[in-house]
């Protein structure tokens, strides 16, 4: 077997697509965790976002009341709102009510998993596809050999996801809001004493995390797969949480982790397609193994939020 057959341009393009939902969700989770909130419910929120976005587009398109781009925009908005609401609920439960985050997150996950499927069954029935975000063809760029296929033939949400990476890094490291987030996640007492509202910051990040998780879901249901089915995300939200740890809470490294994981996944599919004789089980296992191995050898610069999972209450 030839290496050229394995490392094709399409594998790289495939990795970029696969990484998209992880990047959205993991960036959102990075915000939440940086402020001290571990949201294990990401997968459930993704599902709700995926369904919300899908359903909005489905309705708009079947009713034909809207121009295509508007319908898609509506889908994105609905996903953001649904995700934001789920994030708000998570924030209320874990910040205001100080519930243990490990459990409340699992509760949110179950709720999202169940409700998205229920609504889908009641309102839609069987899987139906929508016309999702089309692949964009850029003049000239798309036609560049190899590079064009890898980078310049994706749908809009893919680009949004990757654009969010430096933006998130900027917000976290270079803005007053980001400073508050980092302080609140490290030493909420100190932030509080400096007049930063721990509650408000954590609400904000958890809601942002929810919105991005919702968008992650929508990137599947109205951009990459263009339909909804029960448990559409197949546990991607949990992998996204893991990737936050992989990246040591730094957006760039988190995205790098998402890319590595997705790349190995794309690679294993390619290797199977071209007929390599390795057991499927090991092929499917590969991204997980390599992600761990990579972290073993990576130099770990971490920005561990020490107050992670710890509800804040003044010492009264």
């Amino acid at each position: 077997m030839d290496l050229d057959d394995i490392f094709t341009a399409s594998v790289f393009a495939s990795a970029i697509r696969l990484a998209t939902p992880y990047i959205f969700a993991a960036l959102g989770e990075t915000f939440a965790q940086r402020s001290g909130v571990l949201n294990l419910g990401v997968d459930g929120i993704m599902l709700m976002g995926a369904f919300g976005g899908f359903y909005a587009v489905h309705l708009a398109q079947t009713a034909g009341v809207m121009a295509e781009p508007l319908a898609l925009l509506l889908g994105v908005l609905v996903a953001l709102v649904v995700g934001g609401l789920m994030g708000l609920a998570m924030a209320f439960v874990s910040v205001t009510l100080q519930a243990k985050q490990g459990i409340s997150g699992i509760g949110v996950y179950l709720f999202g998993l169940g409700l998205s499927e229920l609504l889908f069954q009641q309102w839609v029935g069987t899987p139906k596809s929508v016309a999702g975000f089309p692949r964009i063809s850029f003049p000239i760029l798309t036609d560049i050999p190899i590079l064009g296929e890898i980078f310049f033939h994706h749908n809009l949400l893919v680009y949004v996801a990757f654009a969010l990476v430096p933006l998130s890094a900027f917000v976290l490291n270079r803005t007053t809001f980001g400073l508050m987030i980092r302080a609140v996640g490290q030493n909420p007492e100190a932030a509080d004493a400096m007049g930063v509202s721990v509650t408000r910051v954590r609400y904000a990040t958890t809601i942002i995390g929810g919105m991005l998780a919702g968008l992650a879901g929508a990137s599947l249901s109205i951009a990459l797969i263009n339909l909804f089915q029960q448990n559409l995300t197949a546990g991607q939200g949990f992998i996204a949480v893991a990737l936050v740890y992989f990246g040591g809470w730094r957006p760039l490294a988190v995205a790098a982790g998402a890319m590595l994981f997705s790349f190995v996944n794309a690679l294993q599919l390619q290797i199977k397609v071209i007929g390599a004789d390795i057991p499927s089980e090991f092929a499917v296992m590969a991204p997980y193994v390599i992600t761990i191995v990579a972290l073993v050898f990576a130099t770990k610069r971490q920005e561990q939020p020490t107050a992670l999972t710890k509800p804040y209450e003044r010492g009264e």
Partner: protein
């Protein structure tokens, strides 16, 4: 004193009232769920009636609740150890699978070796050697798998949340691979069956559990098995281990404060690995007990939950609900088991989709865990009202001229 009786009764009532928030939370969760039910044209009252009935309504229901709770409890005990050692173990699923793979292999091999073919299906041929070896092997395999995450954390700084989530997937693929090959039931090889091992001989099975409380014995015709007893006994053992032994102390010390622990001469890395080793071991036990006590063979539908019934995750919930105390994990897993089993009954009886059940379970988990703050606040308030302030030591200290104890403010004055 009469008054003393009065106060202790009041105190006890007070403590009972503590659980009121949980009940209120449950009711609220059910109320919200009712909205969903009504939207589906179902009668919420009847629905929740079925839920309760399904959880504890009959002998069989109660048994099923306990059967469901058993692996959750095993995992919950392990998660408790891990958390106490400062390790967040999301790897219960994978460790269960590791334990089940090893335990089943041992049970099958020893079953072949120790039980003559003609006896293999004879009832009551319980063989302690086989069962104990399988349980031990399951524990060890789970422990090594969990310990791997501990090792990676201790020596390579690989975050355990990341590694355990990844190791779960790896374990599933390992299981799929082995069950479809090496461990495949020879009787069905070549038939394209679902990947599964051969069935355990009776001697290798955990016996069913019944209580001599009537005739026939209670639970005699249910699937309740000795796994529950083992789990409860181990919960007590681990309680003692954590709070009464020096090794347990070391694990907790590392979990609370690594720096102070290393100052105290505790080998921090070793405790991390040990905590994960034990946590994995208990998850491994959960896995092997599911096979030996319930399913009698290991099979896979390709996903982890098909085998583990998500006990690896639910154990986290049980451990946290149980206040990270192995004894507390017992009622917590029973509650959770009842919730899961009862919900299934509700689905069956009123014919709502399974997804509704999942959503309702999520609501209940969220509401109940949110109610804890109200319990906490009540108990805090009580402490501040009841206890006398400042150190008793002070009054009795050997300072000749220590202030008159009467000088100290007392609760009465304060309150």
């Amino acid at each position: 004193m009469n008054q003393a009786v009065g106060t202790s009764l009041a105190a006890r009532l007070n403590r009972l009232v503590d659980f009121a928030p949980v009940l209120v939370a449950l009711l609220l969760a059910l109320l919200v769920s009712s909205v969903l039910l009504v939207a589906l044209n179902a009668d919420p009252l009847a629905a929740f009636g079925f839920m309760l009935e399904g959880a504890v309504g009959t002998e069989n229901a109660t048994a099923e609740t306990l059967v469901k709770a058993t692996p959750i409890l095993f995992v919950g005990i392990g998660i408790t150890i891990a958390f106490r050692g400062g390790m967040i173990n999301i790897g219960g699923e994978g460790q269960m699978i590791a334990g089940a793979l090893a335990g089943t292999t041992i049970a099958l091999a020893l079953g072949d070796a120790r039980v003559p073919a003609e006896m293999a299906k004879a009832p009551g041929a319980f063989d302690l050697v086989i069962v104990a070896s399988a349980l031990g092997g399951g524990f060890l395999a789970g422990a090594l798998y969990g310990g791997l995450a501990g090792f990676l954390k201790a020596y390579f700084g690989v975050n355990e949340i990341l590694s355990t989530i990844m190791l779960n997937q790896i374990a599933v693929q390992m299981m799929n691979f082995l069950l479809n090959g090496l461990l495949l039931d020879p009787a069905v090889a070549g038939f394209n069956n679902i990947p599964k091992t051969a069935r355990l001989v009776t001697a290798a099975q955990l016996p069913r559990l019944a209580l001599p409380l009537g005739d026939p014995w209670v639970f005699a015709r249910t699937r309740l098995h000795w796994g529950l007893v083992i789990a409860i006994a181990l919960a007590v053992v681990i309680y003692i281990f954590l709070w009464r032994t020096s090794l347990g102390y070391r694990i907790r010390a590392v979990g609370e404060n690594e720096r102070a622990a290393s100052y105290a001469g505790i080998h921090v890395k070793r405790q991390m690995m040990l905590a994960m080793f034990l946590a994995g071991g208990f998850a491994g036990l959960a896995g092997v007990v599911q096979v030996l006590g319930l399913q009698y063979r290991l099979q896979t539908d390709g996903s982890p939950a098909g085998f583990t019934a998500a006990a690896g995750f639910n154990g986290i919930v049980a451990a946290l609900f149980g206040g990270l105390n192995p004894i507390g994990a017992i009622p917590a897993s029973a509650f959770f088991g009842g919730l899961l089993v009862g919900a299934q009954k509700m689905q069956r009886e009123i014919g709502v989709p399974a997804s509704l059940i999942t959503a309702v379970n999520g609501l209940i988990v969220v509401f109940v865990v949110s109610s804890e703050i109200f319990i906490l606040q009540r108990s805090k308030r009580r402490v501040s009202l009841q206890e006398t302030p400042l150190a008793p030591a002070r009054a009795s200290a050997k300072r000749a001229d220590s202030p008159d104890p009467a000088d100290e403010p007392t609760a009465e004055e304060a309150g």
